[in-house]
């Protein structure tokens, strides 16, 4: 399943926005293992930078609580500049994940700590073709 995914997902690019370096790194390694190209950003501002550099990704995994620019600010900027071309999946430790996802116009959400199969399923379900 994992080996099949690596070929199947070739060419898809995911932007992971997460302030905790250990989580960021682990999610990056997981997605790369599945064949995704991964861009990393430790906050919203860096994420916008990455989009400017590399274009809109097929999906954005977004943490909400971050220094410098948090998930809400980032989502507002993203929608303002890029017409929500990239679907967003929110990663959050908060209890009201569904509401937070709706607030920022996200396609889906995963709660922290997350099941990696669940995370990958959400990514696959919402990534742009």
């Amino acid at each position: 399943m994992t080996s099949a995914g690596s070929t199947h997902r070739a060419g898809k690019r995911v932007l992971v926005v997460e302030d905790d370096p250990d989580i960021l790194l682990t999610v990056k390694e997981l997605l790369e293992l599945e064949g995704y190209a991964v861009d990393c950003a430790e906050n919203g501002a860096v994420a916008l930078e990455r989009i400017r550099e590399h274009g809109t990704p097929h999906l954005i995994l977004l943490d909400m609580k971050m220094p410098v620019m948090n998930g809400w600010q980032f989502a507002a900027e993203l929608h303002g500049r890029y017409d929500a071309l990239s679907p967003v999946v929110v990663m959050t430790a908060a209890g009201d994940a569904a509401r937070r996802a709706k607030d920022v116009g996200a396609a889906g959400w995963v709660g922290k700590p997350f099941d990696l199969d669940d995370l990958l399923a959400k990514v696959r379900a919402h990534e742009n073709a």
Binding site: D19, D22, I23, L30, P67, A93, K112, D115
Partner: protein, 746 residues
């Protein structure tokens, strides 16, 4: 016979002897008659000239004696039906009864009575020559005027030869009777005299008329008499008429007077005010029913018996005694307040005004005093006084204003509350009390009052004269005129500044408590997030490792480090939470021992160098050890959190400077970074737990944000202090100071 004419011529007439003797006799008779008439006229003239009864009587007696002689002439006459005696010898007396037989007979018979007797038994007063040898007689003649018997005149011891003369004198006696009657009437009571004289007049006129016809010889005398009588009659008639008119007028006047005085009496007695009069001693000489009713006395108990002071309360009586003498001199007094003491002991306040009644010489006769019952007015004044005392003594500010806001009244409470005296406030606008930032408040209040609305316990801010502010609770009510129009408004304001402050403090405390609750909730969110981060890492890394192992790949040692780091992080979080909990509950107990601060700082810095390779940590330390009493583990924890913060909030590669500065009594440990600096507002919040400031920090970094709070708690447990100095853009210096004993300094 030679007859001489009046014109001086004479002629010689020849007469026979008998004829001559006849003529001579006739001439003698004529001469006698003429003499008689002349005597009569003389007598009447003399009598008519006499004035008054006594003079008339005297003249009558004297002239009769002179004319007819005799030994005495006696007149008995009536005055007011009493008989009086007068004779030519000057004897005058009243007769209780008539003893003289002759007089008595004349009185009874009303006609002349006479008695003849010999001369021998009389004393001769008259001339005997003419009398011859004949005898004497005594005659009593009644004096009658009209129908009235005036008296009797008695001629004593007349010579019989005088009889014819006496007879000739009868008219004189009639005249004398009339004159006498006049004079006698002059002596009687006036009213009766007038009445009698009026009727007598008529008779007299008739008598005179008869006499005119019969007594030609008395022409001149009668003319004279008539004239006098007419004059007298006219006088009498005029007097009589005048008297009658006067009497009628007087009766009319008396009736009118009686009527008007009854009316005045009625007005006097029933007036709605008290009237009385006091004599010069102050004794009541009259008092009206109204005042008597007020006092509860009967008139007879008061008038002429009581002094006015008996009807006054003692203070009023003293005031009256002092002012009464002045009143008598000045003549008036106005609006004096006195208190009447009623018979039943109760009191009645009155207002007294009086004028003095004086005689023609200006001497005081009595007072004319008017009293008004002012008890109602007094009661009203007392009620008003009571009300105004209540208003004045009220702690509340009570004022009235018109519908433009102009202040009309201002009580003591208002003066105390707002600082303006009544003089300063009255006439000014209440707008002066209203804060300038609420310019439309007054207009709003006045317009709602104008609509007749009442405002209750309206809370407003006001400005005192000295510019300080206060909060008042105001109740405003419209005041209406008799027609129901709102003309002004009353306002009662109570200072509720203290209450407002207490309420504000309570609200602030409540808000603070809510802040704490919110902060706690946020803290729990943060804690959950912080705890979930390492658990998320554990979970994700382990799942990834599993996948890699399952796909035949090796597990990287970096992944194990990642797990280790997060396990440490979790453990630190737990310790931190426990420490906060201990600090909050006061159960953190430092394990104090004597230790060297310099060594502790060196060790701590070395640990951080190992954890953060590549960051320059620069120390500035004293040459020797600085020993203090401390819990080295806790102090190291405090210093670590400062160094952690410095590393976290400053650019990578920027140096961190750590210093130890001993000074007398204390030692300071400081950590300086080259970060962005901290705003002043945030600085104050830094050392507080669960504060709003923490939320800003939270956005900057992970972690519970309790490091500085714990640092402060630990340092304060050592009796030290913490602080921060910072310049935005130039970094921050966090420091703590620990106390040092003097012997430590040596």
């Amino acid at each position: 016979v030679v007859i001489e004419a009046r014109d001086g011529t004479s002629e010689v007439v020849h007469l026979a002897r008998t004829e001559l003797s006849h003529l001579e006799e006739r001439a003698a008779r004529l001469a006698r008659e003429k003499a008689h008439l002349q005597l009569l006229i003389r007598l009447m003239g003399t009598l008519g000239a006499a004035q008054g009864l006594d003079e008339v009587i005297e003249a009558l007696l004297r002239n009769v004696l002179d004319a007819v002689g005799g030994t005495n002439v006696v007149l008995c006459y009536f005055v007011d039906e009493e008989l009086h005696y007068a004779d030519v010898l000057g004897l005058r007396r009243r007769l209780s009864r008539v003893e003289d037989e002759l007089v008595k007979a004349a009185l009874e018979r009303r006609e002349p009575v006479e008695r003849e007797h010999a001369f021998s038994d009389t004393k001769m007063l008259g001339s005997p020559l003419e009398c011859g040898a004949g005898g004497a007689y005594t005659s009593a003649l009644p004096l009658v005027a009209g129908a009235d018997l005036i008296g009797v005149i008695k001629l004593e011891n007349l010579h019989v030869a005088m009889r014819s003369l006496c007879f000739q004198l009868h008219p004189f006696f009639d005249y004398a009777a009339s004159v006498l009657k006049n004079e006698v009437l002059g002596r009687t009571r006036l009213k009766r005299a007038f009445d009698e004289v009026s009727t007598a007049n008529v008779r007299l006129e008739a008598e005179i008329g008869v006499r005119l016809r019969t007594e030609v010889a008395l022409q001149a005398a009668r003319d004279e008499l008539e004239r006098r009588v007419r004059e007298r009659t006219e006088e009498l008639q005029t007097a009589n008429k005048r008297l009658l008119v006067e009497l009628a007028e007087r009766r009319r006047a008396e009736a009118a007077l009686r009527e008007s005085s009854e009316e005045i009496r009625d007005l006097y007695d029933r007036a709605p005010c008290g009237y009385h009069s006091l004599d010069r001693r102050g004794v009541i000489v009259q008092m009206n029913d109204t005042e008597l009713a007020w006092l509860g006395y009967a008139r007879e108990d008061v008038v002429g018996k009581l002094h006015f002071t008996d009807l006054l309360t003692p203070p009023s009586a003293r005031a009256f005694e002092e002012s009464f003498p002045q009143f008598r001199v000045r003549g008036w007094v106005r609006d004096v307040e006195l208190e009447l003491a009623r018979k039943d002991g109760s009191r009645l306040p009155v207002l007294l005004s009086a004028t003095a009644v004086t005689d023609a010489d200006g001497n005081y006769v009595m007072s004319r005093s008017t009293l008004y019952d002012i008890s109602l007015r007094k009661k009203a004044a007392e009620a008003e006084h009571l009300l105004s005392t209540i208003v004045e003594s009220s702690e509340d500010a009570i004022l009235a204003k018109d519908l433009d806001g102009v202040i009309l009244t201002w009580n003591q409470g208002a003066a105390r509350l707002y600082g303006y005296s009544a003089e300063e406030a009255i006439g000014r606008n209440v707008g002066m009390l209203i804060p300038p930032e609420q310019p439309d408040e007054l207009a709003r209040l006045l317009s709602s009052l104008g609509r007749g609305e009442r405002l209750e316990h309206y809370t407003a801010e006001r400005i005192r004269k000295d510019g300080t502010r206060l909060f008042v609770s105001i109740t405003m009510s419209p005041i209406r005129d008799e027609a129901g129009r709102v003309i002004r408004a009353s306002s009662i304001a109570r200072d509720i500044t203290d209450r407002k402050r207490a309420e504000d403090a309570m609200r602030a405390a409540k808000e603070a408590a809510e802040d704490v609750a919110r902060a706690k909730s946020r803290f729990l969110d943060i804690a959950a997030h912080e705890l979930r981060t390492p658990t998320t890492v554990f979970s994700a890394v382990l799942q990834l490792a599993q996948r890699q192992l399952e796909s035949g790949k090796a597990v990287d040692t970096a992944m194990l480090y990642r797990l280790r780091r997060n396990a440490d992080r979790l453990s630190r979080l737990v310790v931190e939470l426990l420490d906060v909990s201990r600090l909050e509950r006061g159960t953190m107990v430092p394990r104090m021992k004597r230790a060297d601060v310099v060594a502790l700082v060196s060790d701590c810095v070395e640990d951080h160098r190992a954890l953060a390779p590549g960051r320059p940590l620069v120390t500035t330390l004293p040459g020797g050890p600085v020993e203090v009493e401390m819990d080295p583990v806790r102090i190291q924890q405090a210093l670590s959190s400062l160094i952690d913060n410095a590393l976290r909030y400053s650019p990578p590669e920027s140096p961190i400077e750590i210093g130890v500065e001993p000074s007398p009594g204390r030692v300071r440990v400081s950590v300086r970074d080259r970060g962005p600096g901290i705003s002043e507002a945030l600085r104050a919040e830094l050392f507080r737990p669960l504060s709003r400031g923490a939320s800003d920090l939270e956005e900057r970094s992970s972690g519970l944000g309790l490091g500085l709070y714990l640092c402060r708690g630990i340092v304060e447990l050592h009796g030290g202090t913490v602080g921060v100095t910072s310049e935005p853009g130039a970094g921050s210096t966090f420091w703590f100071e620990l106390p040092r004993r003097e012997e430590d300094a040596r």
